[in-house]
């Protein structure tokens, strides 16, 4: 099954009853899958007039308690930024998938990782953060989609999944979780006042002190998320002297490269952030006590590398290797870099 | 049967002194009070001496739900 279809099937099984989206390559198959299958699961598919409309339809659906999702690719995700800021302000759960392509502008439809900053720093306005999950296989697209909905609901926050054209298009075998039954009631959801007092959802808070309280409340929530939700994968780190840091597609390639160089006795390993925000800072800090060389692999001109720098605070040497524009690096290419770096290290030691 | 008498009550503090009610009252029942309310507006007062017809023109045009008209 393709990554795009896996996103869709996993969402439906996670109880997503509202998908709104606008076509854009390389994630069209996701919307098309929803168009075909969500209704039979009791959900609604809406092809919105734009990405802007889509994110706002999601806001409406989420406000009344539905598990709602939208998806797009880079340019379309830029159009959702205002809406994402509103979701954060409203404290509404929702899942936003970005199947990244080359940029800026129309760029191209090849796989890229140039939207890391946008996703992790909030491309929208105001003080907010969105948890960001980065799958590296079709199986993981399914697993993390389910996880995204849970995180979104438990913290009442929009959650972003950052994939790329390759993950969306490639087919791999995948096993899905059982469809979830009866999700917990959301007492905060609007449902008409009924016999109770009327309620409202507003991101407008004219009183600056109230607004500040709201901002700090959000910060506390983000600290909670940082405490509980950090995910990452360690690969051959036990004896590693060179550690690659990469997520998604580049992490797969890095793994292959590490296998290769390991054959030649080079002690390389991989730390793969699965949550890009919150970023797995601690494991990096711990590694830095014995690992003196880190190499960050990205399909961009250098974005996640900032989070690695922020984590290590100059404790170890950090190299960056980026291939932007939709170029998919090869294991050989990465292997060569690990190889060179290792021998440099040995020299500098001697 | 005796013809009903109507009482007009103004919620002083809600009034914004826009004078729409005054404009539309054919019986001249309503007029500025000359006083300022909590909002700082010269609110409207109903003149007891004038006879209200219960036509509701004032309540219909009042943007602030500041007028109540009741008949006995």
């Amino acid at each position: 099954m393709s990554g795009n279809h896996a996103f869709g099937e996993a969402a439906i099984r996670a109880g997503c009853t509202c998908y709104c989206g606008y076509p854009i390559t390389p994630q069209n198959e996701l919307g098309e899958y929803m168009a075909e299958h969500i209704a039979s699961a009791g959900g609604v598919f809406i092809q919105s007039e734009s990405e802007t409309a889509a994110i706002n339809m999601i806001i409406g659906a989420a406000a009344v308690g539905a598990r709602a999702m939208t998806s797009s690719s880079s340019p379309g995700v830029s159009l959702k930024q205002e809406g994402i800021s509103f979701l954060a302000g409203f404290q509404l759960p929702a899942v936003i998938i970005n199947v990244m392509r080359g940029g800026p502008g129309l760029g191209n439809i090849a796989p890229a990782q140039g939207d890391y900053f946008q996703a992790t720093r909030g491309g929208g306005h105001g003080d907010y953060r969105t948890p960001v999950l980065a799958p590296a296989s079709v199986q993981e697209t399914a697993d993390l989609t389910a996880a995204a909905f849970d995180i979104a609901d438990s913290y009442r926050t929009p959650v972003m999944i950052l994939g790329d054209g390759m993950l969306g298009q490639m087919k791999e075998p995948v096993v899905f979780q059982e469809p979830v039954k009866d999700l917990p009631e959301k007492e905060w959801a609007l449902r008409g006042r009924g016999e109770g007092p009327s309620r409202y959802m507003a991101s407008l808070i004219l009183d600056v002190n109230e607004m500040e309280r709201h901002n700090w409340e959000l910060v506390r929530k983000y600290q909670e998320i940082t405490k509980n939700e950090i995910r990452y994968e360690e690969y051959m780190l036990d004896d590693a002297e060179i550690v690659a840091v990469a997520y998604g597609t580049t992490a797969r390639i890095a793994k292959a490269a590490i296998k290769r160089v390991r054959k030649e006795g080079i002690p390389a390993g991989l730390l793969r952030p699965i949550t890009l925000w919150p970023f797995p800072k601690q494991p990096l800090v711990e590694l830095s006590s014995r690992v003196k060389s880190f190499i960050v692999f990205e399909m961009s001109t250098g974005q996640m590398v900032e989070d690695v720098q922020l984590s290590l605070e100059g404790r170890s040497r950090i190299q960056f290797h980026g291939r932007p524009g939709g170029v998919v690096p090869t294991p050989v290419e990465y292997a060569r870099i690990l190889y060179r770096e290792y021998h440099l290290m040995k020299k500098s030691r001697a | 049967m005796t013809k009903t008498k109507y009482n007009v009550t103004i919620k002083d503090d809600l009034c914004k002194g826009c004078e729409l009610c005054i404009e539309f009252c054919k019986r001249g029942v309503l007029a500025r009070s000359g006083d300022l309310n909590v909002q700082g507006y010269d609110y409207v007062r109903a003149d007891e001496t004038k006879e209200c017809s219960g036509c509701q023109a004032c309540t219909l045009v009042c943007p602030e739900v500041a007028i109540e008209v009741n008949g006995e």
Binding site: T17, C18, C20, V44, I46, S48, E49, T52, A53, A54, N56, M57, I59, G60, A61, A62, A63, V64, G65, A68, E82, G83, F86, F90, L190, G192, R193, G194, S198, R199, Y200, M201, A202, L204 | K11, D13, L14, K16, C18, E19, L20, E23, F24, V38, Q39, Y41, C55, Q56, A57, T59, L60, V61, C62, P63, V65, E68, V69, N70, G71, E72
Partner: protein, 255 residues
């Protein structure tokens, strides 16, 4: 003693609004609140309020309210109604919100025939932001962004968006009304009642455009702005039913 007028059940008790003296929003708020009660909708109603002077509507309406990003009201309403068809969903939007930044959402929600009701407050300016030109601003009308009057060559013409959506098959009822006098207010209430009923009867989309005074930005007294609606504004935006596709009303099919 019989009570001729009373405080609307779904309007927050004795609330002091932030509206300027003589503002039409207050009048329409009262009408909507009264209908919530008379049509027994208040308990399951959800209002989508705009970015505009009515952004604080949730402080007045005593029903559930969700705010919208500027112009996106009908998209949010779509998400709500599709998920909870049992709710009574209406948007309350200004002319800038609905016919400028919200143009696409307005047109496509209408074209989908969403089962929602749109209350469209046309006051020919951007009130909230201090009186800039709106798509509905009349030719020659001075605003803060048309200091020498709206000039069609530079600024285009007054946009009649309600007329544009009225012909859509999914738009069941559309009417333009005003709130510039007792009789007009009564007609407006009737129109909104009809629009609400269309949604209740699961027929489709309904929209009521209300010509509404903005004394502050029109730089007029309340009474002057009432008269201006009669003498000038309603010439550009004629009052009346723009479409009525309700079954067996005889005049279905609109214009």
């Amino acid at each position: 003693m019989k009570q001729l007028s009373k405080w609307p059940k779904y309007y927050k008790k004795d609330v002091i609004t932030h509206y300027c003296p003589g503002c039409g929003h207050g009048i329409v708020h009262r009408i909507v609140s009264e209908l919530m009660e008379e049509m027994d909708l208040g308990k399951r109603a959800l209002c989508v309020n705009p970015a505009g002077c009515a952004v604080l509507a949730y402080k007045y309406f005593d029903i559930d309210v969700i705010e919208s990003a500027h112009g996106r009201g009908t998209a949010i309403a779509t998400g709500v109604k599709r998920m909870k068809p049992g709710l009574f969903v209406f948007t309350y939007q200004g002319d800038g919100d609905l016919s400028a930044i919200g143009t696409a959402e307005t047109i496509h929600s209408a074209n989908r025939g969403e089962h929602i009701t749109v209350i469209f407050i046309n006051n020919a300016v951007y009130g909230m932001t201090g009186g800039q030109m709106a798509p509905t601003t009349l030719l020659g009308m001075k605003t803060t962004t048309t200091p020498s009057g709206r000039n069609p060559g530079r600024d285009g013409y007054p946009l009649h968006i309600t007329d544009m959506v009225a012909p859509f098959p999914g738009v069941i009822y559309a009417e333009r009304v005003a709130v510039n006098g007792p009789a007009a207010v009564t007609r407006t209430k009737k129109a909104i009642r009809t629009a609400f009923q269309v949604q209740e009867d699961r027929l489709g989309y309904s929209i009521i455009e209300v010509l509404s005074p903005c004394p502050t930005n029109w730089k007029m007294t309340a009474k002057q702005s009432f008269d201006w609606i009669t003498e000038t504004m309603s010439k550009e935006f004629p009052l009346g039913v723009l479409t009525d596709k309700r079954p067996k009303t005889g005049n279905g099919g609109g214009r």
